[in-house]
């Protein structure tokens, strides 16, 4: 079985409102996929559909060989889920909570409790969950999702409320698991964090999948300009550098910094000109379009009529 999750032409309607419309994608073994979109774009709905918490209006879903809509759940032993707002029974301690979830997955409780240390909760494990801060609940949410070496991890906004250090640890753990063959699907707003890490990005807008591919593929599709930022000396205000080809969109950021938007096919040519003899360029930065830019581009292109 190489496909961990298979979503085929799935639509979910609540009354007249369509939360998700005609979405299809497959997630293979060991893939690390970022699911991004505005609030209400259908990210959480997709995760709930995969968990069988809601049933699709039409279309089919398969998760680890189960059809979640039919109430099949054998494969869920190998599935970890972290909800957007981790809410746990306030009367139980962190350790009891973790042990409870380990038993439900038929995994050794001792092993599961070690995960509490991994997320930095060992000091608070004996305290009631009701006394935890949001960040601590988030960590416990992560610890329970990691019980028993999951084959599929569905993480809904997993890094909100985590401090930068733990965020780092979180991505290390996730990337190690992905390298070992776990399929990770994580929905997030923190695009800059995902940029380096996600092998693949799925962009949702108003319940429709608007883009799906690796960041490089999406960059190519979006044809967004690369920003070339130059530090130029001895340039009069309002004057454009003479060596720039006419028509190249450029901006003066301040006295001696010029920013040029270079289309993908002009990039190399522009760099040649800029670094040629006789220009007064002192320094240069090349900023490729970020995931933020790509995201904004795909949203705009689908909004346009």
């Amino acid at each position: 079985m190489t496909l961990a999750v298979c979503v085929a032409d799935v639509t979910k309607r609540y009354g007249r409102i369509a939360a998700v419309t005609g979405v299809s994608f497959d997630l293979g073994k060991g893939e690390m996929v970022a699911l991004i979109g505005h609030n209400g774009a259908g990210k959480t709905t997709l995760l709930k559909l995969m968990l069988g918490l809601i049933r699709p209006t039409c279309g089919a879903i398969e998760v680890l060989g189960d059809n979640p809509a039919a109430g099949q759940f054998a494969g869920r032993r190998y599935l970890g889920y972290q909800p957007e707002n981790v809410s746990l029974d306030a009367a139980l301690t962190g350790r009891e909570t973790q042990a409870f979830y380990a038993r439900l997955k038929r995994e050794p409780v001792e092993k599961a409790l070690e995960l509490l240390e991994a997320v930095g909760l060992d000091g608070a494990a004996a305290r009631r969950v009701g006394t935890y801060s949001k960040g601590m609940r988030q960590r416990l949410g992560l610890a329970q999702a990691l019980i028993g070496r999951p084959r599929v991890l569905l993480l809904d906004e997993p890094t909100t409320g985590l401090d930068p250090e733990l965020r780092q640890t979180f991505y290390e753990v996730i990337q190690r698991l992905a390298a070992e063959g776990t399929t990770v699907l994580l929905s997030s707003h923190a695009l800059t964090e995902l940029e380096e890490r996600a092998g693949r990005v799925i962009i949702m807008n108003r319940g429709i999948k608007v883009a799906d591919g690796s960041i490089d593929e999406l960059r190519r599709l979006a044809r967004l300009p690369t920003k070339i930022r130059l530090k130029v000396s001895g340039l009069e205000t309002g004057e454009a550098p003479a060596w720039l080809p006419t028509g190249a969109p450029c901006r003066r950021l301040n006295g001696h910094i010029v920013e040029i938007d270079a289309a993908p096919d002009q990039k190399i040519d522009l760099l040649h000109r800029v670094t040629a003899e006789g220009t007064s360029v002192e320094d240069l930065d090349v900023v490729p379009p970020s995931l933020d830019d790509i995201y904004a581009h795909f949203l705009k292109s689908t909004e346009a009529p």
Partner: protein, 275 residues
């Protein structure tokens, strides 16, 4: 197995939240005060003391046990959904009916513990003060405790059904209070009024029996006030219960049915629910 894991968690939570303590203290306190104060007016202090306690305790149970059961159960499904804990639980390899069964077993254990301990204390107190209690009375008392737990099970199941159908916690609580008023107070009053108006012309004893079976609290009352000869003696004013010809096994079967049907419907409603 999954149901047992969920049940253990529910029991632990109930202990932590002081539910167990509160319910036990309440039942024990009322049972003890009825035991010592309630038997004084009858004048039969001593020999038949426990029988008198059964009559008064079973009347109390009809008000109290359904209330406690509904308090525990009305929140079980819709409350967990609102708090968001259900979302995570259902992402685990556990079927929804197992979650419901686990909660039921857990809550019933809590209620059974409180009832046995609370009412048991009353019997123990009678023994300790030197009352002589014969075997018939003990059997009737044990049957009273058992049927009280069964009545609790009925209302836990009814509470789950409401909880599985209700949109939010407030609605569930309101509907449960309404059901409690209806089944515990209004139903009997309405029936008595109806019988008084009718003067026995149209409504036969068979119809009355059938009407009584439609209310679990009446089933409980008839079971406790008529099943044992020694108790029947003191239950002279128990009104409707006098004329019924329903046998004890039939009444118990009715209570069990009253548990299983709402529980099954709750499971069905829960399994179709989206969250």
């Amino acid at each position: 197995m999954n149901a047992a894991i969920v049940a253990c968690k529910e029991i632990r939570q109930a202990v932590r939240n002081r539910w167990v303590l509160a319910a036990t203290l309440l039942l024990a306190g009322l049972a003890l005060s009825l035991t010592f104060l309630g038997s004084a007016p009858t004048g039969t202090v001593g020999v038949r003391a426990l029988d008198v306690v059964i009559v008064s305790l079973s009347s109390l149970t009809i008000f109290l046990i359904p209330l406690i059961a509904l308090l525990i159960s009305h929140d079980a499904i819709v409350g967990d959904m609102e708090r968001g804990t259900m979302l995570l639980l259902l992402s685990y390899p556990v079927a929804r009916w197992q979650v419901l069964l686990g909660k039921f077993l857990g809550h019933l254990t809590v209620l059974a513990f409180a009832t046995c301990l609370g009412y048991g204390l009353a019997a123990a107190a009678l023994l300790a003060t030197g009352s002589r209690i014969d075997d018939d009375s003990f059997a009737a008392f044990a049957a009273m405790i058992g049927s009280s737990v069964l009545l609790g099970a009925v209302f836990i199941a009814i509470g789950y059904l409401v909880s599985a159908l209700a949109r939010d916690r407030g609605t569930a609580a309101g509907v449960c209070i309404g059901l409690w008023l209806l089944l515990v107070l209004i139903y009997d009053m309405a029936l008595l009024g109806l019988l008084a108006l009718d003067q026995g012309r149209n409504i036969s004893a068979g119809v009355v029996n059938a009407i009584l079976l439609f209310n679990p609290t009446d089933v409980y009352r008839i079971f406790n006030l008529t099943s044992f000869a020694n108790v029947r003696m003191f239950a002279g004013t128990a009104g409707l219960a006098q004329n019924t010809s329903l046998s004890a096994p039939a009444l118990l079967a009715a209570l069990i049915l009253w548990t299983l049907v709402p529980l099954g419907l709750a499971s069905l409603a829960f399994s179709r629910r989206e969250l």
